[in-house]
């Protein structure tokens, strides 16, 4: 689909991710490190999952294999999310100690959101890079590709749209999950894994002939829901406190 087409697909998938990166993350090196660590951990979890399932790759006939595959995959990634949460607790501790030592304000709510955002964006970007962008290379050429089960849109388009949905979901559900763990709200804590599972299973709809339309719409609407929930959380949180960290001597609630 030529260079423009290929780039277009990449931008569809990565657009919001890049925007988030350049507005929030690029100014703070700590967040960049967090992002990279999270991308790496997603990659490691992917390697683990694929090393287990490589031998049992489902084909057209044995599509039911996808179900345990998805279950284990989602489980693995949610385990990673929990690990992040514990890591984050330790990091927060260290950072607060440093802040006290430097007579600077402790971690503000917005800072916490930003760190959670960095973790989540790392996951999301990793997902998009490996599931979508890495496969876009043929799209830079003169032709395009359709898959049998989906004649409505080219393979690349589908991958890009789904990638976009997943990026948003990963990013925002990390924020939701962190907030849930911090506040101890069970509903929020289970929201992230729940949404993750829901979305993965909805992609199974793509296996059916012509089902890809539903699959994509489901993914994107899940993404919308997740972003809405996250937005609401942030709105609630930050309307209590005043905003950002440059105001000094403000201790965290």
């Amino acid at each position: 689909m030529t260079l423009a087409g290929g780039l277009g697909y990449a931008l569809i998938a990565l657009g919001p991710g890049i925007a988030l990166f350049f507005t929030v993350i690029i100014n703070k090196p700590f967040l960049i490190l967090t992002l990279i660590a999270s991308v790496l951990s997603w990659l490691v979890s992917l390697v683990l999952i694929s090393s287990v399932w490589r031998g049992f790759l489902p084909g057209e006939a044995s599509a039911w294999v996808y179900i345990p595959l998805l279950l284990t995959a989602v489980g693995c990634q949610e385990a990673a999310r929990l690990m992040f949460w514990h890591l984050y607790l330790r990091v927060e501790d260290i950072l607060n100690k440093i802040a006290v030592r430097l007579s600077k304000p402790r971690l503000h709510a917005v800072d916490k959101f930003e760190i959670a955002l960095a973790f989540g964006l790392g996951h999301g970007l990793a997902h998009v890079i490996f599931f979508c962008v890495a496969l876009l290379t043929p799209s830079f050429g003169p032709a395009t590709l359709y898959v049998n089960s989906c004649s409505q849109m080219p393979f690349f388009m589908m991958a890009a749209l789904t990638g976009l949905g997943f990026l948003l979901i990963h990013t925002f559900s990390m924020i939701i999950a962190f907030d849930g763990h911090a506040e101890g709200k069970k509903s929020q804590q289970f929201f992230a894994p729940g949404m993750h599972l829901l979305v993965s299973f909805s992609t199974l709809a793509n296996l059916a002939q012509g089902g890809c339309v539903y699959g994509v719409s489901a993914t994107l609407s899940c993404a919308l829901v997740t972003s809405a929930v996250c937005w609401k959380i942030k709105w609630d949180k930050t309307s209590e406190d005043s905003l950002p960290p440059s105001s000094s001597n403000r201790t965290h609630h």
Binding site: S50, P58, I94, L95, F130, N206
Partner: protein
Amino acid sequence: MLLVVLLVQSLAPHGSDAPVNSIAMLVYDEQPTDSFSEKLGGAVLNALVFVIIVAIVTFLLVLLFYFRCTKCLRAYMGFSAFMVLAYMGGGVAVLLIQSFSIPIDAVTFAVLLYNFATVGVLAVFFSKMPIFVTQGYLVMIGVLVAYWFTMLPEWTTWVLLMAMALYDVVAVLLPGGPLNMLVELAIARDEDIPALIYEARPTTRYIASLPTSPSAVSRNSSASGPAAVATRPPPRWRRRVTTTPVSGNVANLVTGQPAAIDMPEPARNNDNVRPIGISALRIESQVPEQSGQQQQGVGGLLLNNTNDHQENGPAVVERWTTRRSSSSDEEDTVPLVSSQAQALIPPHSTVIMDGVESSFPSAARSEAVNIEALLEDVVGNGESGVLSGAIKLGLGDFIFYSVLVGRAAMYDMMTVYACYLAIVAGLGSTLILLTVWRRALPALPISITLGVIFYLLTRFIVDPFMVNLSTHYVYF
């Protein structure tokens, strides 16, 4: 790395059919039809020969350094830089012209190439050029050498990378290793090591109130130059780790130099950039504008870069010399370490090398900064909105990373991303190790090992898995 990947993709997407005859293929000429064990055996032999040659040449360099004939070193480096830019640059340019059917005649091409090469040598060695030109040329040299290496046959390349990583460990950590000796010599004499480093300009913006002095004067400098306490006698050279602009702000970690550096040369880059925030606690003396003194912040991470040997066709090991005075480029480091962390740093522990040898492994001592202090710096800077620490890495390290990534590109982009991440992870962990171990560390081994492992895993396991999932539109 990005440029090498692009070059590989446009010129030789599946490996070259006629691998270049180089010193690395002295023993075994790999054919695609050879059996597995033949290929492996041959590749190992090739790599062995290469490493031995590199070791010999490194010892030679150490000897030259020992006898202080810096003129020979500099002349040699200038010559090899010219050769790389002209010969390899010309070769790659011809390939590109053929591939993209660019209309250009031979005379114009010759003139342009000659100019390109000469300006390159000047930019790299004799400085006084805008920093972007110098950086650009360093990147070009790295890309060209890396691309040349990717033209080696596949097995040889991988085994060679592993062999270089091993050699790096040996050369730097063992007391008899050439790089270790070089470092000792340099420390003992308190001299600069002739070397080539790549330094990234900090790409994050500075707080508006920071005065920045024109730093284009010295070659490898970027604006920084925090004023900080000079608490100990100035070591003559420092070393830092740097990242390329391509990898951007990724590893913009803290580096800082703990002491005032005494430089006799007048053409020093004196920067008066000071970050607000942390340094507000500690700024004491202003860096005098035109003096030879420069005071730096404390604490830093010094990444030891080790190794780079590149051999190209003519069995020439390249080394690049920097000017002695380019040590003024420490400057882009902002004193990120707080005064408490300053106290942590033992005196005389700052061995900072000015230039990192790009052609042979160079060792550096690391400053002891514990993780808290490190985080402190990173976070502190983040809060004040400034991160001005640029890190320096030896060019050879970049070259080998690029070779790895370039080779990965010959399979698929997925391996490229995986290997890139692995290399970054390796770099990060090397940095952390540096703060823990406080001694010279080779920069190659962890990254290369992780890179090779991830390449193999991605190629054989992850890729089929991913392709299966995506073509069925099942995601998680």
